[in-house]
């Protein structure tokens, strides 16, 4: 029995080891900051979008909850960060933590709503929650600024030292650092038994319950975590742009973030980050060509992606990686056999 446990633990540990490709990925991210010093604002947006997409992936890609209202948490994080800054809490990191807690609490409260029902009910309920948040932000214009947006937020210097500048040098560094620091515990969580149980829930909730995993508790936990992470992303946007508008709660943002995640691929940690980079670069290029109608091309990409087959497009790198891994795993197995 303890033998089985040890073998399982060893296997889990092996799966959670940092792969060379991952290390290269983060080196590339860090290098991007120095190679493109005049594109720091874009880099900042990519980091924020990536973090937001990552949080959606936690519930969609890992736990299998289809959500059309994930902006509710992004937006509430943004508004909270904006409002506390306006009323005196100017330290960005403290604001970030407060936003994470607030969005997490909102996620916890609404998580009970997504436990019931199939895809369609969840879709409607999450959409409804998103709409309610939008309406709330619109109504309480004394606090949020309503349709004019929240103005007059003056973010203090980062760590009490570095002021946010127009070129976005500090902002990009701040967002990238936040992205990495949030990514680390998420990665740890996904490779833990907890993370594996989430994938089991997505695969078959009934059977997962039958082997003794509390399905609802798992869903509540991951929904809360994902909401908190989305709140951090929202707060980053609010702090680095020093402005919050109703747009952070708009429906099209929920749809956009789904697209971001789908471009990068669901169910693996880097999908959202890669998708964010592709999406933002695409938006940048398309918006330069047709500033007003770039949504058309986004729509076209979505339609084409589904018709061609998502797994065929986004699964391509994974396929190569698994081939590569397969060969190496085969060798390892051979080596193990030789030892025995």
């Amino acid at each position: 029995m303890s033998d089985v446990r040890a073998v399982t633990a060893a296997r889990l540990a092996r799966l959670s080891r940092w792969r060379p490709a991952e290390i290269v990925f983060w080196i590339v991210v860090a290098a991007a900051y120095f190679v493109f010093p005049d594109r720091h604002n874009l880099l900042n947006e990519i980091a924020i979008t990536g973090l937001f997409a990552l949080s959606l992936d936690l519930i969609l890609g890992y736990a299998g909850i289809l959500s059309l209202g994930h902006t509710a948490f992004f937006g509430s994080g943004a508004y909270l960060a904006g409002i506390v800054t306006k009323y005196g809490v100017t330290d960005p990191i403290l604001g970030l933590l407060l936003a994470a807690v607030a969005a997490g609490l909102l996620g916890f409260a609404t998580s009970f709503l997504v436990l019931r029902g199939a895809d369609l009910t969840r879709l409607m309920v999450t959409l409804g929650v998103g709409m309610v948040m939008y309406e709330l932000a619109n109504r309480f214009s004394g606090l949020t600024g309503g349709a004019d947006g929240l103005q007059g937020m003056d973010v203090g210097p980062l760590l009490g030292r570095f002021d946010f500048d127009l070129g976005g040098d500090v902002a990009a560094l701040y967002s990238l650092a936040a992205l990495f620091l949030v990514f680390l515990p998420i990665r740890r969580m996904i490779h833990s038994p907890f993370g594996w149980s989430l994938r089991a829930v997505k695969g078959n909730a009934l059977r997962t319950a039958a082997i003794g995993i509390p399905v609802n508790a798992r869903l509540i936990a991951i929904y809360t975590v994902a909401a908190g992470v989305a709140g951090i992303a929202g707060a980053l946007l609010a702090q680095t742009t020093q402005f919050v508008s109703l747009d952070v709660l708009a429906f099209h943002r929920s749809a956009d973030i789904l697209l971001v995640l789908v471009i990068g691929g669901t169910g693996y940690l880097y999908g959202g980050l890669i998708g964010a980079a592709v999406f933002k670069l695409m938006q940048d290029v398309l918006a330069n060509i047709t500033p007003q109608y770039w949504e058309f091309w986004i729509g076209l990409v979505l339609v084409a992606l589904v018709l061609v087959g998502r797994e065929r497009v986004t699964g391509f790198p994974a396929l190569i990686a698994s081939r590569f891994r397969g060969r190496r795993a085969g060798k390892e197995r051979l080596a193990e056999g030789a030892v025995q």
Partner: protein, 286 residues
Amino acid sequence: MLTLLLDGVAYGMLLFVLACGLAVTLGLMNLVNLAHGAFAMVGGYVTVALVNRMGVPFFAGLVLAFIATALLGALLERTLYVHIYAKSHLDQVLFSIGLVFMAMAAVDYTQGSQQQFVELPAMLRTRFEMFGVSIGAYRLLIIVVCGVIAIGLQYVLTRTRFGSRLRAAVDDPRVARGLGINVGVVFAVAFAAGSGLAGLGGALGAEILGLDPGFPIKFMIYFLIVVTVGGTASITGPFLASLLLGIADVAGKYYVPALGAFVIYTVMIVVLIWRPQGLFGRAATR
């Protein structure tokens, strides 16, 4: 008070005609089609173009809007939608949102982003007194037309051969095929009719709901509410749901304008949590 009620009924009837196509595709065929509002928008713009620019009579414009969107629906069903029936809900959501984005940008590009109005014939712009209640002729027309459509739909679905074929094809496509029902054609016709009705609703509603490129997203949630709250067991469920929604929305906006659409969303969430199958639905058989 009664005027308000009649306005609500007209609004609800309109929602029903707009959403009943979705009740068939989403409810019966289990296809999450968020692009349903795009068909309604197309119907509205077709009418505007025909009536305002080419001088086609208003009623002919309505009929042509129905035909045009039904043809468009049939075309898209045969070329695009047919590939996504079997895909996951996530894929269907992505696909239909993509269509919505494309439709909105295309309309914005060709027609401009300002709100459009249909020029109504003079006879529809009058108001009458009826049993001591004042009602606009246009709203009366909407109630009559939509009522006729609702009854007609109920008849087609429950009493005709096509209706029973459609229900059979939905319940179990494989067995239906085995019995010699051409499931593909049945689905295509149902989809086209649903799109056509959405187009007709969009044409009729341009005056009341407002027609601009944001239409599909603005009303998407209303259509979805009608279908999910009404359930899909029969046509009566969505019909009652849209009447309720219409009256509640009009009354809510009149009596408690501060709360706005807030009430509607909250009620929807509560209903869905309380009865995921819809208020008038039956438990799912699958």
